[in-house]
């Protein structure tokens, strides 16, 4: 087990304590509706929220409470039906489709519940995909991705295919992929849901270790109460609304 895997520390790194002024994410009266008329469903209901740089924010709540819809809006994957969304100083609400795609590619990293690695690519090739999207030369992208994979403890598995890796290892590749292009916002959707408790804590420790920095914001959607300790802030949701915003060490009412 590497030093990262046994990470017991639940505080942000030193760099995080000198975070940028202002909020990384500002939501003002954000709502999202699906369907129309009688079949209209309110997934997110008039949420106003500021999330700062340099912190790992956990978005928690029961299934169907709107967590995934909210991070989809924050990540520019879904349009808000109402309200203003500002991410890293850019107003997403007024941003055109193509600009949003470029913004996402340059500034946002994603870690998915099911990893979504490309099965035909090796670990290092998967990790370098965001750099290729950004137009990096192949060899340079591979070099940088290799360095990051070594950092997450997969230096010995660079040439392994996803099918040859455990769930925890795949998620670490996904984390490397999410961070390789040094995004300023990391969005993680249930990163521990498909993992056992030990692997889950390892992955959360890793995200905290390599992702939380003064100029970066991290949002993690999770159901997993076992990893609540890793968050600097916990935003609890229910029925599309934010019900509680808790500080470090506090636990939401179940």
């Amino acid at each position: 087990m590497t030093a990262i895997e046994s990470h017991p520390v639940l505080t942000a790194p030193e760099s995080a304590k000198r975070s940028l002024p202002g909020a990384a994410i500002q939501l003002r009266g954000v709502s999202k509706f699906f369907g129309t008329g009688d079949t209209r469903v309110t997934a997110v209901n008039s949420i106003t929220l500021d999330l700062p740089y340099g912190e790992m924010v956990l978005l928690v709540g029961p299934s169907g409470c709107g967590k995934t819809t909210l991070i989809s809006i924050v990540a520019g994957l879904l349009e808000a039906s109402e309200g203003e969304v500002s991410v890293l100083g850019q107003n997403l609400t007024r941003m055109g489709g193509n600009r949003k795609v470029r913004f996402r590619g340059a500034n946002i990293g994603f870690v998915f519940q099911q990893y979504n690695l490309l099965p035909a690519l090796t670990a290092v090739e998967n990790a370098c995909v965001p750099l290729l999207i950004a137009g990096w030369p192949h060899s340079k992208a591979i070099t940088k991705a290799s360095q990051l994979l070594e950092k997450v403890g997969l230096g010995g598995r660079l040439r392994s295919y996803p099918s040859q890796l455990s769930g925890g290892q795949q998620q670490r590749v996904a984390i490397a992929r999410a961070l390789v292009h040094e995004p300023r916002l990391l969005v993680c959707d249930e990163p521990t849901a498909a993992l056992d408790a030990t692997s889950g804590r390892t992955v959360m420790g890793l995200i905290r270790e390599v992702a939380v920095q003064s100029d970066r914001a991290v949002i993690v959607v999770t159901h997993d109460s076992r990893v609540y300790d890793f968050g600097d802030k916990i935003v609890a949701m229910a029925d599309g609304k934010v019900t509680e915003v808790l500080g470090k060490g506090q636990r939401p009412h179940e």
């Binding site: 979504n116 099965p119 999207i133």
Partner: protein, 382 residues
Amino acid sequence: MNWVALRMLTGDRAKYLGIIFGVAFAALLMSQQLSIFCGLMRNTTSQIRDIEGGDIWVMDKNVQFVDDVKPMSENKLMRVRGVPGVEWAVRLYKGIARARLSDGNFQQMILIGLDDATLVGAPRPDRILHGGLGDLRQPNAVFIDEFGWRYLYGDVPFEVGRTLEMNDKRAVIVGMCKCNPTFQTFPILYCTYSQAVQFLPQERKTLTFILAKGVPELSAEQVSEQITEQTGLKALTNDQFFWSTIQYYMQRTGIPINFGITVMLGFVVGCAIAGQTFYLFTLENLKQWGALKAMGVSNFRLVRMILLQALIVGLIGFGLGIGGAALFGYVFERAVKSTPPAFYFGWQIMTITAGAVTFIALAASLLSMRRVLFLEAGVVFR
């Protein structure tokens, strides 16, 4: 990202090979059937291509194709010669004669009677395999084509002096020439016009065609028009006669429909296999496409990636299919000695097949592309 697209494509070997198989199968079936069809159609015009020297074929106005023989009276030759713009005109007999072989069997022959004086319409010197054209002026002399010799005598080497009997007249084979394969596969006999008349049952009219050449100042088309206008006969250039013969077989026989069905079948099966496999392949990778979209890959780039994948499978499938058809033609040509194979594998076949394969690859990719383009990037969170 092109590299990622290619790795995604080749990553799933079974599906990758399945798509290529679909395209290759379609390309093979289409090009092979088209080649046989075109070979057959070309064979219908073999005499038009073999009988050289003149620019214009003159015939009875009701003749529809080269084997549709409607004899004219001899004075028509004089009338054609009298048309302004005609440099020269000679008579030609083309018809079917029945020959009695040395073993007592009968065999139908394509008999071509050339103008006695000029031998216009005879095979080119480079196509004469044995004997000299002048030998045709010997009594009862005939030239036989190479395939005809094999048809009648198998692997026996050519020898001068073999005889046939036509209309109770002895015909002596004095030479052998190369001819294009014929539609009916009958042996071809060349002789002089006066000799041909001897080999036929007595008929009042024997002139089947007139071969003419226009003056250099006028085009063959212009001279043809003048001949038609002034004589009431049908006059066609070599090209026009070639295409009118093809047109006849296309319109009046079931050959195009039968081959068309097979070609369509190949196309449909290719579309179905390649389209379905490519679509399933994309569908199974939908989450990966979604992840790429979420990570900042634009729709335009996704389209390029999918088109690249389609281009690769299209090219490989086309190459394999065309290669298979060419191999079939090669083996077919060498395996069948006595009957000339009907197989024309020209650039036109490759172009048509390439067009069809492009359509299959595009249709398959468009079908898949639709799913990817309308895919919400948020699908990755589900």
